[in-house]
Symmetry: C2
Subunit: 264 residues, 2 copies
């Protein structure tokens, strides 16, 4: 049970490896994952009957299908060590069951008093109420189980991205504690938000994810002569908007929340 594996991954790495560059590289790679999951989710219509009907379960709780599914999956994923990875944050688990299998020991990178920042409740609501109806057709094809698996993939990819704000904040803080400490001590959220905002970078991210949605969401035809049709599985402008309206702002909220506890 006690096998320990030395890490060489970005976030689990030693301090030397925790650089803004390596974090940025991971965030860029995560964009691909997010675009893939959105494209995959767009295969199915909204399938809202799955959210609307709550059933009373054996546990005595009442739960919609996606909530039941995600809660149970998280319990199962905890049993194989998912939440020992500081990049992963559960949506529902208050008490994380221990892993059944030997797990990787992640060296501590985040500040112990700040690492528990978790805004998944907000991400859940934003995803189902605001994002999903934007890029998914209305309708009901009955494929609730596949839809729930697809929602889970989107939610986990988006949550990982947004909570990566903790690593971003940690690195930025370590690089220039003197810039952040006064605002943290004054609990000046606005000043922190300003310190963390780089509009040019945000614009670049929005442009890049738009281009990724164009590239990954196109219909690829077989023969080289045949031009790929410019019909996208998810509107690239919507992907850019999803980043601009929710993913980037929520990441910064995680950064601020983290910094506010960074000196505790």
């Amino acid at each position: 049970m006690a096998r320990v594996v030395e890490s060489d991954s970005v976030s689990g790495g030693s301090d030397v490896l925790l650089s803004l560059d390596s974090i940025r590289e991971s965030l860029i790679r995560q964009e691909d994952t997010i675009v893939f999951t959105l494209i995959e989710r767009a295969n199915f219509p909204l399938n809202s009957p799955a959210f609307e009907e709550s059933l009373c379960l054996d546990s005595g709780n009442s739960s919609s299908l996606p909530e039941f599914f995600v809660r149970e999956i998280e319990t199962l994923q905890a049993k194989i060590g998912r939440y020992e990875d500081p990049e992963e944050n559960p949506f529902f688990l208050d008490n994380i069951p221990p892993s059944v299998y030997p797990t990787h020991k992640y060296p501590p990178v985040l500040h112990p008093k700040a690492l528990s920042v978790n805004i998944n409740k907000r991400i859940w609501d934003t995803y189902f109420k605001e994002m999903l109806p934007l890029f998914v057709k209305p309708g009901d094809d009955g494929k609730y189980a596949s839809t729930a698996a697809s929602d889970l993939a989107c939610l986990q990819a988006i949550s990982r991205r947004i909570h990566f704000g903790k690593f971003v904040a940690e690195v930025k803080f370590r690089d220039a504690p003197q810039d952040y400490e006064p605002a943290i001590r004054a609990k000046d959220t606005e000043a922190l938000m300003k310190l963390l905002t780089f509009e040019k970078v945000e614009e670049m991210v929005k442009k890049r994810v738009q281009k990724k949605a164009e590239t990954f969401g196109q219909e690829v035809k077989c023969s080289s002569g045949e031009e790929s049709e410019r019909k996208y599985k998810v509107d690239p402008l919507l992907v850019s908007r999803i980043y601009g309206e929710w993913l980037i702002p929520l990441t910064k909220i995680v950064e601020v929340e983290y910094l506010l506890r960074r000196l505790d």
Copy 2:
């Protein structure tokens, strides 16, 4: 519990909708999913310690991490109705637990004596022993839970594609029963395989998935001036080979198995 939803999807659709065109369209769309999942899996190294270590579980069974995970996920997915969809075939469940939530009623399309064809045991072995080491780097980054989730996504996408052979066989049989019946009655596997093989189509599929791997696996850069680097996340030739060596032949094996039981 008895809410029934009328289907308008390809495989769940009425006979009128079960055409070779609609099946082909679904298979083409599934290529995107498969290429996405392979690219995502290539984010992680092999992480073979997760397969090699088997633990004795509460159930008394001994199981490796991926097997434990997939088995438990399948039980959970059955509870939300996944396996009532004739496109989905479990890897481990012998007895499929009933769904807790109301499910979609799929009109019967496949022949009742032939719909249970399931070659997932073979797909499992092929995936872990032959395919995975081809496109994934050796190594161990400790991210076993994320790797298992990624393996599951690959396995389910590949299994769905291969078992789509049942729908292909059903449509081909209905289109020309007189061509198939003598070989079925003679249990002439070789003759059936010949009837089902169209080398030109297979070559086209292999070319198309190669192009998809080039398109979806490239590094997309931000600015339009900057050329996208021709460095792929998964070697496009390998994706073509995965189709040519395993996905296409295994789909045909499902077709033959299905046809052999089609007159029962």
